[in-house]
């Protein structure tokens, strides 16, 4: 055993972290080696010196009040209580709502994306009309602008005009170009089991040519041709059968 390597082992032995076989061996060595014996004594002295120096202070300040006032300043709701309150409120709303409309069955709303292809890059109003009594009509929100709207116009130099009050003003001018073919307007309809007609309402002053309603071929009622209808004041595009109108490819 070389004494040079004993320092670490002596520390481990003092800490009680040396495994038994090594400890027994080292204890035997320390008995016969005066250098290591002296080292061990000094390490023990340092160990006890550190322990006594680092004893717990006898008097420590009391911080309970300070901490509790900090905690009280930042009241935090118990998350479980918040969740429980939220769930209770939602449940109460559901119960009240169903009590309020006892005869009405709640039918699940089916979201369905539809693409209306138009010739002109205008945005027609699209309505969903219920064919059951009482008839109800809802405007369907288009979820996108017609895609090729930017290609349909180009800007001309502004024209100077004289206003009735005599002041001059510049009038912005646009020139309509050849409309692009197949401008797609994405809409999303919400079928609630009662709606059966999808209607495209176009302003007669606007060129809205509905080319096709992109659906599965099987869902298009036979004989309904919408490709050459121009300026329809109110044009029914198709009868929508909620069961059949499962548009899969947009």
């Amino acid at each position: 055993m070389k004494c040079e390597s004993k320092f670490e082992d002596l520390l481990l032995m003092l800490d009680g972290e040396l495994d038994d076989s090594k400890r027994v061996e080292l204890e035997k060595h320390v008995e016969i080696c005066s250098v290591c014996y002296e080292r061990l004594c000094k390490l023990q002295a340092m160990d006890s010196c550190l322990r006594s120096s680092l004893s717990h202070p006898e008097i420590v300040p009391d911080i309970t009040g300070a901490v509790m006032s900090q905690i009280a300043r930042k009241p935090k709701r118990n998350r479980c209580v918040v969740y429980a309150a939220g769930i209770t409120a939602v449940a109460a709303c559901v119960v009240l709502f169903s009590l309020h409309q006892p005869n009405k069955t709640i039918t699940p709303v089916k979201k369905m994306p539809v693409v209306v292809m138009v010739k002109e890059p205008r945005k027609p109003d699209i309505h969903l009309i219920s064919d059951r009594e009482p008839k109800q009509e809802r405007v369907v929100r288009a979820i996108s602008e017609p895609k090729s709207v930017r290609t349909a116009y180009h800007r001309l130099s502004p024209k100077e005009t004289i206003r009735p009050d005599g002041k001059k003003s510049l009038q912005k001018r646009y020139e309509q170009t050849e409309p692009s073919t197949d401008t797609a307007l994405h809409v999303e309809i919400h079928l609630d089991g009662e709606s059966s007609k999808l209607v495209v309402v176009a302003d007669p002053s606007e060129h809205v040519i509905i080319t096709t309603l992109q659906t599965k071929a099987a869902t298009m009622p036979p004989g309904l041709d919408v490709s050459n209808i121009e300026r329809p004041p109110l044009q029914t595009v198709t009868n929508v059968d909620p069961a059949a109108l499962l548009i899969s490819e947009i």
Binding site: K42, M46, C49, R51, S53, L54, P57, V60, I63, V67
Partner: protein, 184 residues
């Protein structure tokens, strides 16, 4: 008041009885403050660190696993708060520099010399001069009487790193506290 166990009090606090947390503080503030005091060297910083630790532990009480001991969990928070407080004062660059310069010229002072003094204030000053990551290991070992694996757990380090830091710290202390006979 009937003496409740830590876990019983914590359960009550979790159910919303925040005031019961004061009982937990009064049980552990002495240990926490003395640990922080040895780490930081003054009562003002120690109080700040322990107050932060108390508030943090209150906020994070949901994450406390009631099967383990509160003090072990809380001690980790105290240690982290102390290290944060130190890191605001000392940059890591400084720590690394100290590590390189003081660990390298290891002198066998402990075997060649005699313990110059065991005057407590001198020893404490020498401990406070240690780089913080060495100091915390010494404090946890000699004040808290933790074993190497327990220190490793408290500091989220491996036992090997703790052992290295402890030995280096002792060598640094030896350099300060031990006098070589030739110098006397």
């Amino acid at each position: 008041m009937v003496l409740l166990s830590d876990s019983e009090i914590i359960r009550r606090v979790k159910k919303g009885k925040s005031d019961d947390f004061s009982e937990i503080i009064s049980r552990y503030q002495r240990k926490a403050l003395s640990l922080a005091y040895r780490m930081l060297g003054n009562w003002d910083d120690a109080e700040d660190a322990v107050q932060d630790a108390c508030v943090n532990s209150f906020k994070g009480l949901r994450t406390f696993n009631e099967r383990s001991k509160f003090w072990i969990w809380f001690r980790k928070i105290v240690v982290n708060c102390c290290l944060k407080k130190i890191s605001r004062k000392v940059t890591h660059d400084n720590i690394d520099t100290v590590l390189e310069t003081t660990a390298e010229p290891y002198i066998d002072s402990i075997e060649e010399g005699v313990l110059k003094t065991c005057e407590m204030e001198t020893v404490r000053a020498a401990i406070l001069d240690l780089p913080p990551h060495y100091r915390i290991v010494v404090v946890l070992k000699y004040q808290e009487d933790l074993s190497t694996p327990e220190i490793a757990d408290a500091l989220d380090l491996s036992a090997g790193i703790v052992r290295v830091r402890l030995h280096r710290a002792l060598k640094m202390l030896a350099k300060r506290l031990v006098v070589i006979p030739d110098e006397v």
